[in-house]
């Protein structure tokens, strides 16, 4: 695969908190319109790597030790005005929709804020279009509602609409369904994927869930202890994992026909030879 025309190119990114380096030379590329997953357990460095892209890491505790992030031809780490791309070119969907929304502002007002840079007459039609496409019927009522009146699944759909509203080229979705009831996770992921395909938006999908990564991503990078141990197409990762950690991680996923003895927990901090 050639990455000459990639939308996002992360090169040798190393991030440190205090004196501790938490990611080591992380490199990956995302092509236009592609769904790219970073899969790993908590603490593997997947969220930190993703949040460095729109510069959402806590400052000054997190330091970029080395590396560069080229997004649409610009190094985001050196941009003076990161606000010019954050939100408008790179949208974010976080794990907890309730915390991503302001509890005392109506949904409509919050959605309109996302399109504040659009011409006034186009704003409401854009929001209505997205709400309808994400499965809301009574958009007038949704506009007047407040976050506490809605379920977690509805709120996450609102957040997805909000992220897509300014027509970004990349969405970072950090565990977007982890806080959502399991049986609704597929429905939310379907909406995210279909909307992004339709709008030709690339997705950086952060997840610990191998099933979801395999079902929705074109390519998957597996992260362990701050390093990408393996990066390949979703079907290669799932059907013929090369790295021993990837194999161990897939083995511990409960699937039909496995017994408790088949699930071998990965010892904390275990070493795997690539």
């Amino acid at each position: 695969m050639s990455f000459e025309n990639s939308l996002l190119s992360v090169r040798n990114l190393s991030i440190a908190f205090g004196g501790t380096q938490v990611t080591h030379n992380v490199s990956f590329d995302i092509m236009n319109g592609e769904i790219f997953a970073i899969m790993g357990e908590s603490g593997s460095g997947k969220t930190v790597s993703a949040m460095a892209i729109p510069r959402l890491l806590p400052c000054p505790s997190a330091k970029i030790a080395s590396g560069e992030i080229i997004f649409e031809g610009k190094n985001t780490l050196e941009l003076k005005d990161i606000e010019s791309i954050r939100g408008s070119r790179i949208g974010c969907v976080f794990q907890e929709p309730m915390q991503a929304l302001n509890p005392v502002v109506s949904i409509g007002t919050q959605l309109l804020e996302a399109v504040r840079f659009m011409p006034k007459e186009k704003r409401e039609t854009r929001i209505e279009e997205l709400l309808t496409k994400s499965g809301f019927k009574d958009t007038k009522r949704i506009f007047k509602s407040y976050p506490h009146e809605m379920s977690g699944g509805m709120l996450q759909r609102i957040v997805i609409c909000m992220a897509l509203a300014p027509r970004p080229s990349l969405i970072i979705a950090d565990e977007p369904t982890t806080a959502i009831d399991a049986n609704l996770q597929i429905a939310i992921m379907d909406i995210l994927r279909n909307l992004c395909l339709e709008e030709k938006v690339a997705v950086l999908f952060i997840t610990h869930n191998a099933h979801l990564a395999a079902s929705y991503a074109n390519r998957i990078a597996v992260m362990y202890k701050g390093k990408i141990v393996e990066c390949n197409t979703a079907s290669e990762i799932l059907n013929s994992p090369k790295h021993p950690y990837t194999r161990a991680l897939l083995d511990v996923v409960p699937t039909k026909g496995k017994t408790l003895a088949d699930l071998k927990p990965i010892p904390f901090g275990a070493e795997f030879d690539g």
């Binding site: 908590s42 399991a182 049986n183 409960p254 496995k258 408790l260």
Partner: protein, 223 residues
């Protein structure tokens, strides 16, 4: 097989704008000694409401009967649940919100003992023993919940539930918020605990593969 818990015609209602909504309607089931019984169903089907009703956290509608270890329990009397809770304990889904962030592990795990009038020294001794059983060390006694990972917090939640030496443990989605590897650790721990303590388990989950691994019988709820 011994039936340790028998529930007949359990109904629970909630009041909403539109009137009375049945969260559970005439649910009947039993739990056998030493078994793992799974409760499955979509979100909103009433899985957690069953768990809450069993320990008296939601009121029962008229017409239900509740039998525990062969003894009839009156579910319409608040104080009967204090007997229930000495035998039936619960562990919860969210390892972040189910532990008081201002209390140490010792305070959290010993609280049920202190509430039952057990002396502080005895409560501390029991807490140490139970922490050991769930795979935490005595060095953790005076730490606060924020110092632990999600999996470790679930161990603290299990320790709190087990410190009263219950005979029945209800696990309400206790692995849903965990990484798969940590989930496997907790499932192995439950299996060990069940054999060591002779527990009967009610395991609420939405994950069919997990239920297949841990449970023999499944109750499926429909909305």
């Amino acid at each position: 097989m011994d039936k340790v818990l028998v529930v007949k015609n359990l109904s629970v209602t909630f009041r909403s704008k539109g009137g009375i909504v049945y969260a559970l309607k005439d649910v009947s089931f039993h739990l056998e000694k030493g078994e793992v019984l799974a409760i499955a169903g979509e979100s909103g089907s009433g899985k957690s409401t069953i768990a809450n009703a069993l320990v008296g956290l939601v009121p029962w509608e008229k017409g239900g009967t509740y039998e525990l270890f062969g003894e009839s329990i009156n579910p319409y009397q608040k104080k009967s649940f204090s007997i229930v809770r000495s035998k039936v304990q619960m562990a919860f889904q969210d390892p972040y919100s189910s532990l008081n962030p201002r209390c140490t592990v010792l305070e959290i795990v010993a609280a049920p003992l202190i509430a039952r009038g057990i002396s502080k020294s005895e409560a501390t001794a029991k807490t140490k023993k139970i922490l050991d059983l769930v795979g935490l060390s005595n060095a953790d006694l005076n730490k606060f919940p924020h110092a632990f990972s999600g999996g470790q917090r679930q161990r603290i939640g299990l320790a709190r539930a087990l410190v009263l030496e219950p005979k029945i443990l209800i696990c309400d989605e206790i692995t849903s918020a965990l990484d798969v590897s940590v989930q496997a650790q907790i499932l192995h721990l439950l299996d060990d605990l069940q054999r060591e303590l002779g527990l009967s388990l009610i395991f609420i989950s939405h994950d069919i593969a997990v239920m297949e691994i841990i449970a023999k019988r499944v109750i499926l709820l429909q909305t």
